[in-house]
Every structure is written in structure tokens, then in C-alpha cells.
Subunit: 187 residues, 2 copies
């Protein structure tokens, strides 16, 4: 299980065994059941999560109780409400398990210590932050320029496995369309 995190980090910065020991000492492991909320809107966000196995959704429930899915996250992804995490304010979104899920948890304190003590890990997080930012910029572009059918087709192309794992209702909430509209796209 630790090897997953190690090879994930080593895609960006190489680590000696000793360095990885130091890295891993900053993380804890947690297992969650299906439908468990890791955190809910209004709660404190204690950790950033690196997903070992399972599937999560980051959601926002608006004033009319409608649920919007900001993102799905699966194996080998990081997820959190990063604004609330970094500013230690209350969550604007909820993080919920769609499957039984195992994660590595990193508190802000441990994150800061790790960056301070290991410049290599600061480089790693810098690259991940860039990739996260770039991914968000692409999603904004997609939301601005494509309709639901095009977004559905993009998703199908990029993450075919995901479509097998989420319900049609979840998928509709991610695409921002009704369940009925999705059925028409699906034809």
C-alpha cells in the first residue's frame, strides 16, 4: 500500500528508502465505508487525501437543496476542499465515499513540516499544485465552451472506467443536467 504512494511521488521526485520513511511518517491511513461522509459542508477539513482505493465525490448542495458534483476522485488522486484545508476555514463542499475507500491522510501541520524538512517534497507538491491548477483551468474552459453532450463524450473518452462505477444520477449531477436529459445523451 505504501508502495503506491511512493511510486506516485517518485513519478516527480526520486526518494531514497530513508527519505520515504520520513515522508510516510507524516501520513496516517483511514478506511471508510460506502456512503460515509469524510467531511460535510460547514465542518472543519482536517486532511488532504491521497486515494489508495475506492471512489469519492466532492459535492456542493445549494440553497434549494440541489446537489452539484464538483469532481469525482479515484485511485491515485488527491482530493479535499483545498480552500478550507489551506485556510483552516469551514468546508464549502462535502466529500463522500461512493465505494468502500482507503486513503492516506495528510494534516496541514504535517504538510507544512514535510515541506519545511524536505525541499524535495516541496518540489513535488509544487508540481502537483500546478497540475491541479491546470486541470481546473481545463474544466473551466470545458464548462464555458461545451454543452452537456460534449462533456459527456469527453468524460467517456478520458475516464471510461469511471462511467462503469457511478450511477446515472451521479453522472447527471456532475454534468449539470437532469436525469432525463442524460438518458437522451446516452442513446
Amino acid at each position: 500500500m505504501q508502495e503506491l504512494l511512493r511510486s506516485h511521488i517518485e513519478k516527480i521526485v526520486p526518494l531514497t528508502d530513508k527519505e520515504f520513511e520520513l515522508v510516510i511518517s507524516h501520513f496516517t491511513v483511514a478506511d471508510f465505508k460506502r456512503n460515509h461522509f469524510i467531511f460535510e459542508q460547514g465542518e472543519k477539513v482536517k486532511h488532504a487525501y491521497y486515494i489508495i482505493s475506492g471512489l469519492l465525490k466532492l459535492t456542493y448542495v445549494d440553497d434549494s437543496a440541489k446537489e452539484h458534483i464538483v469532481s469525482f476522485a479515484m485511485e491515485d488522486w488527491w482530493e479535499s476542499d483545498f480552500y478550507a484545508y489551506f485556510t483552516q476555514t469551514k468546508a464549502a463542499m462535502s466529500l463522500k465515499c461512493l465505494e468502500e475507500t482507503t486513503v492516506f491522510c495528510l494534516s496541514l501541520n504535517d504538510y507544512q513540516n514535510l515541506c519545511r524538512d524536505m525541499p524535495k517534497m516541496e518540489s513535488f507538491f509544487l508540481q502537483k499544485a500546478h497540475l491541479g491548477f491546470i486541470g481546473s483551468q481545463q474544466r473551466i474552459l470545458s464548462l464555458l465552451t461545451t454543452n452537456a453532450r460534449e462533456r459527456y463524450e469527453q468524460l467517456l473518452q478520458q475516464y471510461p472506467a469511471l462511467l462503469q462505477r457511478v450511477s446515472k444520477t451521479q453522472l447527471a449531477a456532475y454534468l449539470g443536467v437532469s436525469r432525463e436529459t442524460l438518458s437522451r445523451l446516452h442513446d
Copy 2:
């Protein structure tokens, strides 16, 4: 002019005079006229830009020649097509001056040297990347959950000065509505 960049960096990491001399040696200054394209879709993205004065728009023109505004950027902001910049691939978007604009330019090579030679600057860029990522996550949430009127009101609240500086046509392209719909929001 250099003092602007210095105080911008020092909001996150303090610098000695000597350190700032090293920092500034990695940047060049450029002046652009109104309506100048800093780069266009399909071109190489040579720099990330820190804006000293002026106003830019980052745009995407779709297959039907319709222009979408991904973001506006003004004094004290960074802007680029960051995917193209970091991966040294061709621009998916264009960056155009809406006003006469002065920027500090940072090439990828200089960025990498600066991070390597000054861990402080790596910390600075890490924090900026987080803020950029967080800002994008907020914009995604806003695009998913609000309608054009609500987005217009958010913009009015967050950046009242911006509304004085961009035309109604530009504003409509940013909000993703027609010029006519915008006029109705404006009432």
C-alpha cells in the same frame, strides 16, 4: 516598478535586498499596446506574466468562431496559458491586452532556475499555485451552481473596478451570455 513585484512576493516570503536582486535578474519587462496579442491560440507560450499595470483577457475561440473569456487579469495578477507554459506545448488560448499593459515576463527556464537556486521562491510559487488552484475550484463551483445574473452580481461585488474597465461585449463573453441578456441583468 520593481517595488511592486517585491512587495507582491514579500506578502508570502521576506527577501533581503541581495535576494531580490537575484530574483529580479530572472525577469524581463515588456510593454504592450491596447489590442496586442501577447500570444495566440496555436503559438508557443514563452512566459508567465506578472502584470504591473493594464488589463488582459485570456480567451478561447471555439470551432464556430465564438469567443469565450476564461479570465480577466489586471495589476498584481499572474496570467498565462499555464498548461502550454509548463508543458511547452502550443497555446489552447489567447492572451490579449484590453488596455496598454506593462508586465514582468518569466520564462520557464528562468522559473526553474529560480526555484532551484532559491528555495524561498519555490515556497512562494507553491503558495501562488495553491491560491490559483483554489480560485479555479471556486470558479468551477460558481459555473456549476449559479446562473448568469448571480455571476454578474458576484463579479460586481468582488471586482467593482473591473466593470468600469471592460466593455459590455467583453463582460457578456465572460459571463457566457448574449449581449442582450446582459442588458437585462444590468437593469
